[in-house]
């Protein structure tokens, strides 16, 4: 019995990990793009990016999943090919919006004196970004990114509302047979995984501790 539950939950957790990894791989770069748009000097682009961020942060991720699952089919008559695609698109867009705001805060927290020093030394904008800003931004965004990424681990459980058999959904199946404990047992998976991530992030923070 335990073995069956374990097997089923582990399979579910592999789905969880897949959503998690694919979301990060998509949202981290897409966040950069949104960040560039939301800080662009061309106003219409900035406004569009800001409105987009507002819409994404202002509505529940669950609603966004439903929109992406159904709206393409209703309006354009191109139904989402798979539920998983809808989940990933929704998660990537949602997390990219949050990440872009973290990046923006990171860029804006760099003191003006850094840009001035780089400028009087003759560096171009791109050289300044690459050699002066990037490492300072990374150091500043690691703590808020860690927070967001840990939230993502748990948000993956939302995917079950449109039928993705992630770990919680796998556990729910057992409740139909009157077996409740697997549901609580899923917590162990999350705790272990979040624990590993926490160790990883504190390792990265320590690595970046050589400067202030």
């Amino acid at each position: 019995m335990f073995y069956n539950v374990f097997l089923s939950l582990t399979n579910g957790f592999i789905q969880t990990l897949f959503i998690f990894t694919a979301t990060l791989l998509g949202a981290i770069p897409l966040g950069v793009l949104i960040c560039i748009c939301s800080t662009a000097s061309f106003r219409p682009i900035r406004w569009i990016a800001k409105a987009f961020i507002w819409a994404i942060r202002g509505t529940p991720l669950m609603l966004q999943m439903f929109v992406i699952l159904y709206v393409p089919g209703i309006i354009f008559d191109i139904p989402m090919k798979s539920r998983m695609t809808a989940v990933l698109v929704a998660f990537i867009i949602n997390y990219a919006a949050y990440f872009s705001e973290i990046y923006r805060a990171g860029i804006q927290s760099i003191p003006a004196g850094q840009f001035e020093a780089a400028k009087v030394l003759g560096m171009t904008g791109w050289q300044t970004f690459w050699h002066v800003c990037l490492m300072q931004i990374i150091k500043r965004i690691v703590p808020p990114m860690s927070n967001e990424i840990i939230t993502l681990v748990k948000d993956t459980s939302l995917a079950r509302v449109i039928g993705i058999a992630e770990v919680v959904m796998c556990a729910e199946r057992f409740t139909r047979e009157g077996i409740i404990w697997p549901l609580f047992f899923t917590g162990i998976y999350y705790l272990i995984f979040v624990g590993l991530l926490t160790l990883l992030f504190s390792f990265i923070e320590k690595k970046l501790n050589y400067y202030r």
């Binding site: 004196g113 400028k119 009087v120 030394l121 050289q127």
Partner: protein, 244 residues
């Protein structure tokens, strides 16, 4: 050779006119101290010369290259080389915190002047020796005192072989004990005839080190001349500034 020629510089922040027609010519090897009450526009003027602020009227020529003509900024393909012949040392040091002392000094040599790593490091080490910091080459800025950070900043500016260096209150963020170290370094540079404009509140130092003193108040130059003007101020403004 004339290093900097500024004519009729005007600058406003909104309705507030901060520079009201400044003229200044700096010859090669000249050391000029810029004195004046705070809020008088000294920083704004210095920053305008090196393109950290944009002026609304006037002309600036650097090492023979006109960079602003009657308020018109020239294209940076013509001006970037000229701006590179000026260095600047800030009140707040502005070192790059994620780079070690030596990297702070080598970085722009390698990136901007395309020096090899070896060349850049040799030069950095000789400059760090000059500012007495060769033993801190691998430290990070946060591990240094303010005075040490400012010495690195001076080495970093000198590493670019500037024709002139602008100092904006280089000792104002330091406590008095550390101030004298920095002043000594600037004095050494003056003896080597580096062209400098120094904004400072150290009047005795200015009197001692400068070829010329310029007193700025309220957006205009009120009085300028040899260091004697400290002993014999002609204007009421300079007199009251010195008495306070």
């Amino acid at each position: 050779m004339t290093v900097i020629e500024a004519r009729n510089i005007h600058k406003s922040y909104g309705k507030l006119e901060v520079l009201k027609g400044i003229d200044l010519t700096v010859e090669q090897g000249e050391v000029i101290s810029l004195l004046g009450p705070s809020g008088g526009g000294k920083s704004t003027f210095l920053r305008s010369l090196i393109n950290l602020e944009s002026i609304s009227q006037g002309s600036i020529t650097i090492c023979g290259t006109p960079v602003v003509i009657d308020g018109e900024y020239q294209h940076n393909t013509y001006t970037s080389q000229a701006y590179r012949s000026l260095g600047m040392v800030f009140q707040g040091f502005n070192l790059f915190p994620h780079k070690s002392v030596i990297e702070n000094v080598t970085m722009s040599q390698m990136i901007v002047n395309k020096a090899s790593k070896k060349e850049a490091q040799d030069k950095a080490m000789s400059l760090l020796e000059r500012v007495n910091l060769s033993d801190k080459r691998d430290a990070y800025p946060c591990q240094l005192s303010g005075g040490q950070q400012q010495r690195v900043a001076i080495a970093r500016a000198l590493a670019m072989n500037p024709t002139a260096v602008l100092f904006d209150e280089p000792t104002s963020a330091l406590d008095p004990l550390l101030t004298s170290d920095i002043l000594k370094i600037i004095r050494d540079l003056a003896q080597q005839h580096l062209t400098m404009i120094i904004v400072t509140h150290e009047i005795a130092f200015a009197q001692n080190v400068s070829d010329r003193i310029v007193f700025m108040s309220n957006g205009s130059i009120c009085e300028e001349g040899t260091p004697d003007i400290i002993e014999h101020p002609q204007t009421a403004e300079l007199r009251s500034f010195l008495n306070k």
